[in-house]
């Protein structure tokens, strides 16, 4: 069974075993009940009710609950149901706009075609490096769309295609990378991963079909356990969402501490808030980002687990991280995995093999600087459409600094000799965790309203935290 490793040595004894939500999946009686028909109904009903917290009403939760019910009672059809259901939903959502529906289906067909080509001709130039071809082709499409006359039909078609392909890009990339994995010829699970029923961002949750195959529940007991874990994770998401609400009311409502975006905006306007408020807004923003990403990831992975896939959490105890690299791994696991799979490993395995440190640093920059930059630059394709390619690249300057600092921090973190942790809570845990938190807090200055102000405003805000004014 898949289990993320809890940071050791921080807590001990009864406190370490305390759980806000009991580990239901470890209680034999609960697992046995979850395998019965009433138990399955109870889990499905509880999950549907839980989803209502994030949806407008119970009715909105019904389609997904219906699919989960089919999978729960007919697990042998899981892959088929998960492959077909999202396409049916897509047709229902877009049938009033045949052009959009057609383009959506065309992008899915393109993904399947590329996947089949990579499988059919593994020794061809495309088969050898399909991801490079895919990303280059997508970049070329953006350039072609930039050249189209604004407000013309080709302009509309090309940019709609760019938008659709941008949302499917990394799903197709995972399908193409799946060609090395055996058995990889099951198209139903490839389709499942193309457009996951449980939802996703542009980052595939949780990765591609190869990963889904490895974590799929194989018998009724495993399905019961993974669904209980899914239900627990949804409950976690709700608890965190409630906590987030209280947090915002207390810090921003009652104490009137500005958000980091507000603090930066006031600094740009020449009316900076007090020094301590600038720091407070930054520190709060750090925790708020962790909360938002946790809630989003927990909701998605909870759905994935309900479908019978025991995926790892997206965010797992990030505040226990003692290195910059560990935080990056614990904070947004599936985005980190995307960068590692498509940028870090290919670079690491190919270049600078004779220079260990250079090899690591180069691969880290390929992932955290280039890969991260490419992902966000193309994700925000509307900005490229509205500003044009070069202006949008200039508009991206603050994030380039962010990526450079992140890649440098990660490189140093990974190059430092790893060894057993220092003994003691203060030296071994608290001090390193504080340093990691401080690094990401300061880094977030370049992430706040990153497209709104010139780089110099972000630098000015950063310097003002240390009493340097220019």
């Amino acid at each position: 069974m898949i289990a993320q490793v809890k940071p050791a040595g921080l807590l001990s004894g009864r406190l370490a075993n305390f759980r806000l939500i009991p580990r239901l999946e470890t209680y034999p009686k609960v697992v046995a009940f979850a395998q019965t028909a009433p138990g399955k109904v109870a889990i499905l009903a509880a999950f549907a009710l839980g989803q209502c917290y994030f949806l407008s009403d119970l009715f909105s939760a019904l389609p997904l609950t219906l699919i989960f019910s089919l999978i729960t009672f007919m697990p042998e059809y899981r892959r088929f149901i998960l492959a077909i259901a999202p396409i049916i939903f897509l047709v229902l959502e877009t049938y009033r706009d045949p052009a959009l529906l057609g383009l959506n289906l065309a992008v899915i067909a393109l993904g399947i075609l590329l996947y089949c080509c990579a499988m059919r001709w593994p020794k061809s130039r495309f088969g050898q490096r399909p991801i490079a071809f895919l990303l280059s082709g997508f970049t070329a499409l953006i350039f072609i769309a930039c050249a189209a006359t604004p407000r013309s039909l080709p302009h509309w078609i090309l940019w709609t295609l760019v938008g659709l392909l941008a949302s499917y890009l990394w799903f197709i990339a995972y399908a193409l990378s799946d060609r090395n994995s055996m058995p990889a010829r099951d198209l139903t699970i490839e389709l499942t991963s193309f457009r996951p029923l449980w939802g996703s961002t542009n980052t595939p949750f949780p990765k591609g079909a190869a990963y889904l195959r490895r974590i799929e529940a194989q018998n009724p007991e495993q399905l019961a356990i993974v669904q209980l874990k899914g239900l627990k994770l949804l409950l976690w998401a709700i608890l965190l969402a409630v906590f987030q609400l209280m947090w915002n009311r207390f810090f921003h409502g009652s104490l009137h501490i500005p958000t980091s975006a507000e603090a930066l905006a006031l600094s740009v306007q020449g009316r900076p808030v007090a020094w301590h408020l600038r720091w407070e807004s930054l520190i709060l923003a750090f925790f708020e980002l962790i909360l938002s990403i946790s809630i989003m990831g927990h909701k998605l992975i909870a759905g994935c687990r309900m479908a019978g896939f025991n995926a790892l959490r997206n965010t797992y105890a990030p505040l226990f991280s003692t290195t910059i690299a560990e935080f990056f791994n614990r904070f947004y696991y599936y985005f980190k995995e995307l960068l590692v799979d498509f940028f870090f490993y290919p670079t690491f395995l190919r270049y600078w093999k004779g220079h260990k440190r250079m090899r690591m640093a180069f691969a880290t920059f390929a992932a955290a600087f280039f890969g991260n930059g490419f992902y966000h630059f193309t994700r925000d394709w509307q900005i490229i459409r509205d500003l044009g390619f070069w202006k949008s690249l200039v508009n991206y300057q603050t994030l380039l600094i962010y990526n450079t600092a992140l890649a440098t921090g990660l490189s140093i973190s990974q190059l430092r000799k790893r060894g057993p942790r220092l003994p003691g809570f203060f030296r071994g845990r608290l001090l390193p965790a504080f340093g990691v938190g401080m690094f990401y807090c300061l880094l977030s200055v370049f992430e706040t309203s990153e497209r709104m102000y010139p780089l110099v405003e972000h630098l000015r805000f950063l310097a003002s935290l240390f009493f340097i004014h220019f």
């Binding site: 289990a3 490793v5 050791a8 690491f348 190919r350 057993p420």
Partner: protein, 83 residues
């Protein structure tokens, strides 16, 4: 040429450095289970390159190949047979 014991010791050290002192069985999933991180996979790759002469650019890389001590050992044997 190193054997399974050396692979086991190496993986054990990686786990210990990650703060994982749980028992380690040769069939245990290491990467897919989340016990080891991607950076640890890199350490395993370098270990295999240096000690077993495995060239991943030639044979292709998939984390599933190195997900347990048994799989790592099997990979070293296959590659040795291929050479």
């Amino acid at each position: 040429m190193k054997g399974k014991t050396e692979i086991h010791d190496f993986v054990r050290e990686l786990l210990t450095n990650s703060g994982d002192d749980e028992p380690l069985v040769d069939q245990d999933s290491l990467l897919i289970s989340g016990r080891l991180q991607s950076i640890d996979a890199v350490e395993i790759v370098v270990f295999l390159e240096e000690n077993f002469g495995i060239d991943f650019t030639r044979i292709g890389f998939d984390r599933e190949q190195i997900d347990s001590i048994d799989l790592i050992y099997a990979l070293t044997q296959t590659t040795a047979a291929g050479n």
